[in-house]
C-alpha cells in the first residue's frame, strides 16, 4: 500500500488510447463507482491500426486523460506529463508502455533518476501501462525516494467498430458467461446419458479459460469444469473445454476417450442455443452429438 504519497491514487481514473482499445483504469477499492469516461468523451472515432505495438508511445501519452486532477502539460521539465492532483500538488509523471510490470531494478533506476537536483524537490510518479495483462501501475516518489506502488485495474475497455459503434468489455464478459452456461447445460444433458449406460460422472477437475480477447479486454481468467465419465473407478471419457473464440465455430470441447480424442464443436451463431456436433477424423464431416453418439464415444475401443 502507498504511504505518505502526494495524493490518493485510488481517487483517480485514467483514460488511455492503446492503439485500438480505449481503457479506463481505476481502483477496485472505489467500486462501484461511476465511470469518469465513456465513448462519448472521444470527439472523433480514430482510424484502426493493424498492430497496437507499432503505435508511437508519444501518441499514447498524449491520449491520456485523468479524473481526480488535471493534466497541465505534456512533455515539460523532462517529464512526459505534468499533472496537478485535486489538492493542487504538481506531480511529474514518466509514462511507460510495456508488456510487463515494473521490476525492482526499475524502481531503483527511477529513484536514481529522481534524485537529480533539478527534479528532487518535486513529487514524481511512474505510470507503467502493462498492455499484456492490462493494468496500470503507479509508482510514487517523494523527494526522490520510492514510496510505493498502486495498481489500477481496467474498469472499462472498448474499441470502435468501423461503423462508429463500440465493442465493450461487457460484451466479452457476456460471451464468457454464455460459454460457461452452455458447458454446464451440455454436462447436464450428458449426465443422464451416462447413467443410462451404467456410467458415473464427476465435475471436480477444472481448466483455466484465458483467451486472448479476454486478456485484451481485461476480463479475468475463469475456471471451467471438466466432465469426467467413469466406469467403476476408471475414467472412460473426459470433456475438456478448449476454447470459445474459433473461426467458424462458437466454442470447442475436446472429448478425450480411451480410443482417441474427438472435437465437439458448437455450430450455432454466438449467443444462440447450442448446436453440438462431433467432428470426424478427417475434420470435414461431422455428426450431431446425441445419446447414440455419446455411447459410441465412450464404448471400449
Amino acid at each position: 500500500m502507498v504511504s505518505k504519497t502526494v495524493s490518493n491514487v485510488d481517487d483517480r481514473q485514467v483514460l488511455v488510447h492503446l492503439g485500438n482499445r480505449f481503457v479506463v483504469f481505476g481502483s477496485e477499492l472505489k467500486l462501484p463507482a461511476a465511470l469518469a469516461f465513456s465513448p462519448k468523451d472521444i470527439p472523433e472515432v480514430p482510424a484502426r491500426v493493424p498492430y497496437e505495438d507499432e503505435v508511437p508511445a508519444k501518441r499514447l501519452v498524449h491520449s491520456i486523460r485523468v479524473s481526480g486532477g488535471a493534466i497541465k502539460q505534456f512533455e515539460h521539465e523532462g517529464a512526459d506529463i505534468v499533472f496537478e492532483d485535486k489538492d493542487g500538488t504538481t506531480v511529474l509523471v514518466e509514462a511507460k508502455v510495456r508488456e510487463r510490470d515494473l521490476t525492482r531494478a526499475d524502481y531503483q533506476r527511477y529513484e536514481a533518476l529522481f534524485q537529480d537536483p533539478q527534479r528532487r524537490g518535486l513529487s514524481q510518479e511512474v505510470w507503467n501501462f502493462n498492455v499484456e495483462r492490462l493494468h496500470l501501475e503507479i509508482a510514487q516518489y517523494i523527494q526522490g525516494r520510492f514510496e510505493g506502488t498502486t495498481s489500477l485495474r481496467p474498469l472499462d475497455v472498448w474499441e470502435f467498430n468501423a461503423d462508429g459503434s463500440t465493442f465493450h468489455r461487457s460484451q466479452v464478459e457476456e460471451r464468457v458467461d454464455n460459454w460457461a452456461a452452455r458447458i454446464q447445460a451440455l454436462y447436464d444433458q450428458v449426465t443422464p446419458w451416462a447413467e443410462h449406460a451404467g456410467l458415473k460422472t464427476e465435475r471436480t477437475r477444472k481448466v483455466l479459460m484465458s483467451e486472448e480477447l479476454m486478456q485484451q479486454f481485461g476480463v479475468p481468467d475463469r475456471e471451467m469444469p471438466v466432465l469426467d465419465v467413469l466406469r467403476s473407478d476408471q475414467t472412460v471419457a473426459s470433456f475438456v473445454p478448449i476454447g470459445l473464440w474459433l473461426i467458424g465455430a462458437n466454442g470447442r470441447i475436446d472429448v478425450v476417450t480411451l480410443g482417441g480424442s474427438y472435437a465437439l464443436i458448437d455450430r450455432a451463431k454466438e449467443l444462440n442455443p447450442p448446436e453440438w456436433v462431433v467432428l470426424g477424423a478427417t475434420r470435414r464431416e461431422f455428426r450431431p452429438f446425441d445419446e447414440v453418439e455419446f455411447k459410441r464415444l465412450v464404448s471400449p475401443p
Partner: protein, 145 residues
C-alpha cells in the same frame, strides 16, 4: 518423406501419453492444459522450421533454374538470385505456390501464427491446434515440390 513425418510421429506419440494422463483420475488438469499448450507450440515451431528449410531450398532451386533460362524474365530472376539473402520467406512461398492461391493464403496465415508464437510467446489459436493434421498437410505440400 521428409523429417516432418518423423515430427508428426513424435507428436502423436507424446499426445497419446498426455491423453492417457488426462484420463488418469485425479490428475491435475490445469497442469496438463499448460503442458499441452507448450507441447503444441513447440511442435508447431519445429514443424514450421522444417517446412521453412525445405521451402527455402526448393525456392532457391527454382530461382536458380529461372535465372539460367533464356527467357526475357531471366535478368530479373538473376537479380533475385544475387539478392537471395534478403529475399523474404513469404516471397519464396510465392515462388513455389503462386499458382495455388488457397494454399498460399493458408501458409501466410500459418506463418503469422508461427511469428506470434516465436516472437510474442503467444499460445496457438484454437483453430491451429490440430498439430498432427497440420504436420501431415505440410508433408503433403513438400511431397508435391
Amino acid at each position: 518423406m521428409s523429417k516432418i513425418t518423423e515430427t508428426q510421429r513424435a507428436y502423436n506419440a507424446i499426445s497419446e501419453l498426455v491423453r492417457a494422463e488426462i484420463l488418469k483420475r485425479g490428475s491435475n488438469m490445469q497442469d496438463l492444459q499448460r503442458f499441452r499448450q507448450a507441447l503444441d507450440v513447440a511442435f508447431y515451431l519445429l514443424g514450421w522450421a522444417q517446412f521453412e528449410h525445405l521451402t527455402r531450398e526448393e525456392a532457391n532451386e527454382r530461382i536458380d533454374g529461372m535465372a539460367r533460362g533464356a527467357t526475357i524474365n531471366a535478368g530479373a530472376w538473376k537479380f533475385v538470385q544475387q539478392n537471395l539473402k534478403g529475399y523474404p520467406l513469404r516471397k519464396k512461398l510465392d515462388v513455389i505456390f503462386h499458382g495455388d492461391a488457397k494454399t498460399l493464403g493458408e501458409l501466410n496465415k500459418d506463418y503469422d501464427v508461427r511469428n506470434d508464437a516465436a516472437h510474442n510467446y503467444s499460445r496457438l489459436p484454437s483453430e491451429a491446434r490440430e498439430i498432427s493434421a497440420w504436420l501431415a498437410g505440410l508433408e503433403a505440400l513438400v511431397d508435391k515440390f
